[in-house]
């Protein structure tokens, strides 16, 4: 089956998306590739298998990964490229429990970092490391029987993830034009410590607009809220001890670590879960498979409108395994509540262009239909897609759950986020504050800025036009 390659960068301030995150394709280097293929998995990682410091599959309970991976852990390698212009994070990974999963040949690092400067990341390091990156990408792609998509994971507010990350995005389009490019971007919040983050973000947005097939924006605030909510649920005493620890969407299931996790670990794991759920139907069997290329096909009506609001439920499972229908319906309702979203937005009061529901576990088509019928009336869909939902049913639930739901919505509710971003950008740009740091860099000109803000404005305008049709349908 088709495989994915993950490209990662790290912004100095943004929570590192540790590689535990969306463990992509782990190539089974052991002999029988045919056996592997016929097990129906393109992704060696069973759900939840490869998280931060996870234990080898053979010692994990739950057995939702294919059996053939038992005892073969040392030969599994992530189809991933880790890129950072500082060494700290990557070194940590190489010393951590996942060190065998990543090959030293898959790393590109430097020492001095990008100084929170998009231009340094994109123009300077981009130019410098271009050959190196292309070569490593080609090698990774060669290992794939059938390469279907790239996942890029980065933050928008810094220098490396934002600048070099979008440079790599461009590269991917040039070198592998047929392969889908999915981007998971962590957007900075209003109170971001990095003063230049609006510049970095807007400059990166232009690249995303033009070169990404699909973007899943993430906001730290949302991740933080989810983490807090879970803490409350656990500590409230009511649910307390009945919450299954390994079912937390913030946990790395089967983790060998008993030490207190670092602050961003929990938040990062949420994103890891997002990507695992996204790819579950591609990895496991189900009665209605949903592939990655179908996501783009169904959810992106016009090329530039490819920003999807994602929402994950449940956040944790109660130990009570008998889940009556009502609880199942609650899961669907939750998916449309703001508390489960990974960005701060209000889709219910905006316009849906398309919506996808990827269900995992013992959920059948009748449950799906019942809930769509129930929830539809409270949602506003664009006139030319009144009944358009994209649905997928995967039989294998995530570790610790009997079922789960990922909803991806293409909704005009992202507009306010972009408008705010534009405002923050303009505040700085009007005064030309900090601009000289960027313009110093070879290849960087004022026009880069004006083009970027124009791109963002156009995007906002497209959303405006669609919003204007609301109420006419």
């Amino acid at each position: 089956m088709a495989q994915s390659v993950v490209v990662q960068g790290k912004g100095p301030w943004r929570p590192e998306l540790l590689p535990a995150a969306p463990s992509p394709c782990l190539t089974c280097v052991s002999p029988s590739p045919l056996q592997w293929a016929s097990a129906g998995t393109r992704w060696a990682a069973g759900s939840g298998t490869w998280r931060c410091g996870s234990t080898p599959p053979s010692t994990r309970s739950g057995g939702d990964g294919p059996d053939i991976y038992k005892g073969k852990i040392c030969s599994l390698k992530a189809r991933a490229l880790l890129i950072d212009m500082e060494e700290g994070v990557v070194n940590e990974i190489l010393q951590g429990p996942l060190r065998d999963v990543f090959d030293s040949k898959q790393l590109i690092t430097d020492v001095s970092g990008s100084g929170n400067n998009w231009a340094v990341g994109h123009k300077l390091y981009g130019y410098q490391y271009r050959e190196n990156i292309v070569e490593k990408l080609r090698k990774a792609a060669e290992h794939c029987d059938c390469l279907q998509c790239f996942f890029i994971i980065h933050s928008m507010g810094g220098g490396t993830g934002s600048g070099l990350g979008t440079f790599v995005l461009n590269l991917l389009e040039d070198e592998f034009p047929e392969v889908y490019r999915f981007v998971t971007s962590v957007y900075p919040s209003g109170e971001d410590d990095v003063i230049t983050s609006p510049y970095n973000t807007v400059l990166a947005m232009k690249e995303l607009n033009e070169h990404a097939d699909c973007v899943l924006p993430i906001e730290n605030e949302s991740l933080f809220d989810i983490v807090n909510k879970i803490h409350q649920m656990i500590n409230s005493g009511k649910l307390g001890s009945t919450v299954k620890q390994n079912s937390l969407v913030t946990s790395s299931a089967g983790s060998a670590k008993t030490v207190q996790e670092k602050p961003f670990d929990a938040m990062n794991n949420i994103v890891a879960n997002l990507l695992l759920n996204l790819t579950s139907s591609a990895r496991f069997e189900g009665s209605l498979n949903m592939d990655l290329n179908e996501i783009s096909m169904n959810l992106v009506p016009f090329p530039r409108l490819h920003y999807l609001v994602s929402s994950l439920t449940p956040l944790c499972t109660l130990a009570d395994v008998n889940v009556p229908s009502r609880r199942l319906d609650q899961m669907f309702s939750d998916a449309f509540s703001r508390e489960h979203q990974l960005i701060q937005a209000d889709p219910k009061h905006s316009l849906y262009l398309a919506c996808a529901l990827l269900v995992r576990g013992n959920v059948q088509v009748s449950d799906l239909r019942r809930n769509i019928e129930r929830l539809k009336p409270s949602l506003h869909f664009v006139s030319w897609n009144q009944e358009g939902w994209k649905t997928g049913l995967c039989s294998v639930p995530p570790v610790g759950h009997s079922h789960s739901l990922l909803s991806l919505a293409n909704n005009t509710c992202v507009k306010p986020t972009f408008i705010e971003l534009k405002d923050r950008f303009m505040k700085l740009y009007k005064k030309k504050a900090h601009l000289h740091h960027y313009l110093h860099i070879d290849g960087m000109e004022q026009s880069c800025f004006s083009e970027a803000i124009l791109s963002l404005s156009d995007l906002i305008e497209e959303y405006n036009e669609l919003d204007a049709t609301k109420g006419l349908s």
Binding site: S38, G40, N298, V365, S366, D367, W384, G388, K390
Partner: protein, 443 residues
Amino acid sequence: MSIVTVQLGQCGNQIGHEVFNAICSDVHGTHVLCSKKENESYNDACKERFFCEEESEVPVARAVLVDMEPKVISQTLSMATRSGYWKYDDRSHFCQKQGSGNNWANGYSVHGPKHKEVIMNLVQKEAEKCDRLGGFFTIMSMAGGTGSGLGAYVTQCLRDAFPTSFILNHVIWPYGTGEIIVQNYNSVLTLSHLYQSSDALLVHENDVIHKICAQLMNIKQISFRDVNQVIAHQLGSVFQPTYTAEGGLHYSRNPLGDLMETLVPHPEFKMLGLRNIPQMPENSLAYSTFSWPGLIKHLRQMLIANAKMEEGIDWQVRPPRLGSSIPSSYSTNKPLQFNTSIANLVILRGKDMHSVDLGSFRDPSLYTSWLNPQDAFNAWKTPRAFNKYEKSASLVSNSQFLLKPLDNVVGKAWNMFASKPGTEALKPPPGAPVLRAALAQDT
């Protein structure tokens, strides 16, 4: 004569598997209600039609499995083998890795031409295994990418390679609300292409079967497997052997040809609908009895009122008096309540079917005037009970049943297409002009 089944895409493969399962379980069934000789005759005819007895101990289905991703096919193959009663030929499948992405164009223009040779080789091999080839039965959904796009392409290839063989396409009509967002595009493209190369399209609507599962089969949590099993039962009730002539001595050897002959008199009208009664959960069968007159009466009203199952039939709908025009006026756009037929085929299986009075189906007011009533209606029968139902009646009809769903799909496709500014002018007036106009002219 043998039928080669081509299973296309996830839907096609999942349903195909259930169809062979249903047929096999019928063959091994215990409540056959007929003589041993009769039963043997039936089983022989069935085996020749659908299976190949090779050196292996179990019959091998005459099928080619095609999909653009591997998971479903591998599952299907292994489930069949595990049943112990039948299996697929291990070599008779083709799959790729990347899927079609719900993209009809991908299926039709990319995967089709690219893999034509390999797929047609597989079909050729299966065809050669038949002593006499009776035609092709393809199973696909309209909404996805592989079944729809690649399915349309393969049908064309079948037509080119086997110009004198019958091709029957079994098409799954998707749920009205959401399986796939671009399903209306895919559907429209599929139907228009299939119409060129296929001899007939046998349509099953997901919404309808879902209702049957909910209301008749009493299934609480309906899965696609449940839906597929109901579809398989209905298909089995049509394709299992029957006597097509009154007083016939042998089971018909040419099911597809017979089907086309009775139901598709005109190449422009080839959409066939299927109804089967009774349908109920297996554990209720022992406690239920039915009378043929009752079944026939219900079936006829289901036809007239375009009802899809035996509950909730509108008994108010009546055929128009002969000589007057069709009641609900086309010009005032009132919904056509009465479902006019071009041709109908009733298939009766089980106890005492000889004595059944089918006169009500020969009523000319049910039909257009294009055919003589005696040509517009046919009946096939067998005393051999099907799938544990003491009495089972199926109706395959060429009628207006698909008008509303078709209007819906086409309307939504246009709606989405016209979302681009500047294309609003391209929107046509509502309605599916051809079918409605043609039938309305008939008085």
